[in-house]
């Protein structure tokens, strides 16, 4: 079974630039999550999708972050404009259902904002 795919793996941008991350979840998984993991900390949930609808985006900085899930499958997370404090690993995860009992994580995208 193919795992969660993410691209790019690494990205370096200057502050105030824009960046987009892509995620392809495990086939058939209805729920998709984006997390932000700052160095030395645990992942923090940014947004949760159920199929193509948003379930929880309470911790997403909506003034600069946006996310969408196309046709209930792939998802993109965008930052515009980026700040220095956005430097982190962005993890995508998927799970079969809404209860999130077990999540399957992709390798992440390491973003460095200079």
């Amino acid at each position: 079974e193919a795992g969660v795919a993410q691209s790019p793996r690494y990205k370096i941008i200057e502050k105030r630039q824009s960046v987009a991350f892509w995620c392809n979840p495990i086939s058939g998984h209805a729920t998709l999550y984006w997390y932000q993991q700052i160095l030395g900390q645990g992942p923090k949930l940014l947004i949760q999708f159920q199929n193509n609808g948003v379930v929880d985006d309470s911790q997403l900085p909506k003034d600069r972050f946006s996310a969408e899930r196309l046709k209930g499958v792939d998802s993109t997370l965008k930052i515009q404009p980026a700040k220095l404090e956005d430097s982190a690993v962005y993890l995508c995860a998927s799970s079969p259902g809404l209860t999130a009992y077990e999540q399957y994580f992709g390798p992440g995208t390491r973003l460095t904002v200079t």
Partner: protein
């Protein structure tokens, strides 16, 4: 915000020894999970313990849960160099609107010396 707090933050042991990591949390939970993260990679689900369970085993892993103290521990027996990774506890709680939220602690960095 981070719900769980792991202790210790870092742990270094010799191969063959046992490793114990602790996690404390603040609010009521439905269940608790432990994840492993190898350097530069995504998280891998290790084990889930439900709020009505006190102990659970999986191979060399033993997890305990004390809901009265709001704490959990992960024991890895007969450690191997391949166990070197960061370990995170994650609590699951109902967040309203039919959704559950996974909240991670800051993690324990385990180093197993061959």
């Amino acid at each position: 915000s981070q719900q769980g707090e792991e202790d210790p933050q870092a742990l270094s042991i010799q191969e063959g020894e046992n490793a114990t990591m602790n996690c404390s949390y603040k609010t009521s939970i439905n269940n608790l999970q432990w994840y492993r993260q190898n350097s530069g990679r995504g998280l891998v689900h290790l084990i889930l313990i439900r709020s009505n369970e006190r102990e659970k085993h999986s191979g060399r892993l033993r997890v305990t849960l004390d809901t009265s103290k709001k704490s959990s521990s992960l024991l890895i027996t007969a450690s191997r160099a391949a166990d070197t990774a960061s370990y995170f506890c994650a609590t699951i709680a109902y967040s309203g609107a039919g959704s559950y939220q996974l909240t991670f602690g800051k993690g324990t960095k385990l180093s197993v010396i061959p």
